[in-house]
């Protein structure tokens, strides 16, 4: 056991996003850009060239007016636990240079920018397109460099980056707890920027293993599901919806199959504990 594990029990940080509450305002994206020093260019028309760690998708039920319904799906990195819940996330197992790793104590999938050499195999492996490549060197508008977050390193051209669940905030909270002689950090001491920015409180964040954290119950709710569960990537980002058509948009179903046939999202996870 590593030293780290001695004073912090293994956690599984995760997120629950209530799609019934999300209005698609995009505050989470703005919060993320600012917090993580994510660069942008003058023309961001092509979203497949944009560095968005978190992107809000708009989906509809495909029906004509007046039956049209719209839903917004914010999509960060899913921090996949991997097929057997042991950290072999699709991306981690393929990286040839160990530039992305699964952090056992927290379950966060890290990205080491100075180690990544830009082969992009991880991007090919990630079914959620959560990984973004720096096609250009970052250029900040005048003076903006002064406002960059000193806790997050900026990235260079030619490497991959992605959502880290604001891991630097976890480190800060842990440092603070250590100085104050505490072993544990409280639920509200570690919250990612997107969860804080959301005006409707659609994003809840915490330790999925800890019954005292809000996400514990929420992720076990009947309304909970994850994206592309059939791929067995075991994401730690859950969604809530009361609409069955939204559920159908979250995974692929053969003719005659329906989301109702699937066991609740948390079953897969509890099975391994």
């Amino acid at each position: 056991m590593t030293k780290q594990a001695q004073h912090t029990k293994t956690k599984r940080y995760g997120m629950v996003i209530d799609l019934d509450r999300c209005t698609g305002c995009g505050a989470c994206m703005v919060g993320c850009y600012a917090e993580n020093n994510v660069p942008f260019r003058k023309d961001e028309t092509d979203k497949m060239l944009s560095l968005n760690w978190l992107r809000v998708f708009k989906v509809d039920n495909g029906k004509p007016f007046p039956d049209t319904e719209v839903c917004y799906i914010p999509k960060p990195c899913m921090q996949c636990d991997g097929r057997h819940m042991e950290g072999h996330s699709p991306c981690v197992s393929v990286c040839p240079a160990v530039a992305t790793d699964y952090d056992e104590p927290t379950g966060v999938v890290s990205q080491i920018y100075t180690r990544c050499f830009g082969c992009r195999y991880c991007m090919a492996a990630c079914p959620y397109h959560a990984r973004k490549f720096n096609w250009w060197d970052p250029v900040w508008p005048a003076d903006m460099e002064k406002y960059l977050n000193p806790d997050v390193s900026v990235r260079m051209r030619g490497v991959v980056e992605k959502c880290s669940f604001c891991y630097h905030r976890y480190q800060k909270a842990r440092d603070k707890a250590y100085v104050e002689g505490r072993d544990e950090i409280a639920e509200n001491e570690y919250q990612p920027a997107c969860a804080e920015a959301c005006p409707t409180r659609a994003i809840t964040f915490g330790d999925l293993h800890n019954p005292e954290h809000e996400v514990y119950e929420l992720s076990r709710s009947k309304k909970a599901f994850r994206l592309l569960e059939k791929l067995n990537t075991n994401p730690k980002v859950y969604y809530l919806t009361s609409k069955s058509w939204v559920r159908r948009k979250a995974d692929n179903y053969l003719e005659g199959e329906s989301p109702a046939d699937r066991k609740p999202a948390h079953k897969a996870e509890t099975a391994s504990h």
């Binding site: 990286c95 040839p96 050499f117 030619g158 991959v160 979250a250 995974d251």
Partner: protein, 412 residues
């Protein structure tokens, strides 16, 4: 006109004609080199790739040239280990073609990474669980082996052969060539396979994901097998092209036919395995992830079911049946058509296993992703072809590559 640098007893074109030829191909090469420097200097924004297409034309080119360069390891295996003496007449050329293919693959890989100066991290910080790590190691080491196999051919140049040490070195290398060839076969088995594994292990991508044996998905074995089957076809194809360009017969027809026969049986067995694999994937693997076969072949402008038929039937079973029949092999046109079809088939397979994997949408609210390479990508992909032509021209002019050339072209 014969200068001492040209092997004895064979005829070569005039220096002037040769220089013009080199200049023409060299111009194409320079165009590619210019694009290469643009990519290194300005970065990968010079390409048509994006976050959906992390892998694109270059990775396809890599997989394709390595599969086609497989002629070197498989002919080496047949010549030195199985002991097919007739193949001694083409093995030199197979090695040269392999050398060109592998050096090109390494060059393209060096272009394809976002931080080329960190390329060595793949060795230094190796993640032994990654298929790409396996590829990188085996590929580089095997390239070393190919270089060792190439050296004695170079040393047979009349001028070099006069240096006593080089003369002995060439002789001694020949003596232990079987050891190098065997190592080459071992390394090739793994890197050809792990190239297949690259796509096969992606369990987040139902289009390419395959079950398998231990840590190796079925694509691992399929890639090795297909490279061994089609590599020799490519060797024959290039030899035939060389004959057309030089206007001379360089290798006896029997050698082509022998390679054709071996390729034919390899191809047929490969096709059986490939069809079984495709069937299992279509009815078990993909449906378990919520995909029906036709989901992968509809709703997009390019990838229709035609591509599967082209790969498996037109460029798979058809050439296999031509090559295993004696009549097919003895008819020169049929033999070559079959080989060219097989080469196209393998290129389609590698294309599908890279580009179509990236194109197919995963979330139901996403569309197919389409991609168009930029001229820089195209130029850098043509670059190795030009480089290959130049190296082949030089090798043919100054080295005794084809042992049967003198016999087949008496009057020179």
């Amino acid at each position: 006109m014969t200068t001492p640098a040209i092997p004895e007893g064979v005829k070569r074109c005039s220096t002037r004609k040769f220089a013009i030829w080199l200049a023409v191909v060299g111009a194409v090469l320079l165009w590619g080199v210019y694009a290469m420097f643009l990519v290194w200097y300005k970065g990968l924004n010079q390409t048509g790739m994006n976050d959906a297409y992390g892998f694109a034309l270059w990775i396809w080119a890599d997989l394709a040239v390595i599969a086609l360069g497989g002629g070197a390891f498989f002919s080496g295996f047949l010549t030195y280990i199985i002991g097919k003496k007739e193949l001694k007449n083409i093995i030199n050329y197979a090695v040269i073609i392999g050398f060109i293919c592998y050096s090109s693959a390494l060059l393209i890989l060096a272009l394809d990474i976002g931080q080329p100066l960190r390329g060595w991290f793949i060795f230094w910080h190796a993640n032994v669980h990654s298929m790409l790590t396996e590829v990188a190691f085996c590929l580089s080491v095997y390239f070393g082996v190919l270089t060792i196999e190439f050296i004695p051919v170079v040393l047979e140049n009349p001028k070099l052969d006069r240096v006593p040490f080089l003369h002995h070195l060439s002789h001694n290398l020949h003596e232990v060539m079987a050891v190098f060839a065997a190592t080459g076969v071992f390394l090739s088995f793994f890197h050809q396979g792990s190239l297949g594994g690259v796509a096969g292990v992606l369990y987040g991508r139902p289009f390419s994901f395959r079950e398998g044996l231990l840590i190796w998905p079925w694509t691992f074995f399929l890639f090795t097998w297909s490279a061994a089957a089609v590599g020799p076809c490519f060797t024959v194809m290039v030899t035939w092209l060389t004959e057309k360009v030089t206007g001379k017969k360089l290798v006896k027809q029997e050698v082509f036919q022998l390679l054709g026969k071996i390729s034919g049986w390899m191809l047929l067995t490969y096709m059986i395995a490939k069809i079984a694999d495709t069937w299992y994937w279509a009815v078990v693997t993909a449906p378990s992830k919520g995909f029906a076969l036709m989901d992968f072949y509809t709703n997009n402008p390019v990838y229709g079911i035609w591509i599967l038929i082209a790969e498996l039937v037109v460029c798979g079973l058809v050439p296999a049946f031509i090559l295993i029949s004696r009549k097919g092999r003895e008819n020169n046109t049929l033999l070559l058509t079959a080989m060219i079809l097989a080469v196209i088939g393998i290129c389609i397979n590698r294309w599908v296993m890279v580009l179509q994997v990236m194109a197919a949408p995963l979330l139901p609210f996403q569309e197919w992703y389409m991609y168009m390479p930029t001229w820089q990508e195209v130029a850098t992909t043509i670059l190795p072809v030009a480089y290959g032509i130049i190296l082949i021209s030089l090798a043919h002019r100054y080295l005794p590559v084809f042992p049967q050339e003198k016999e087949l072209n008496p009057g020179n």
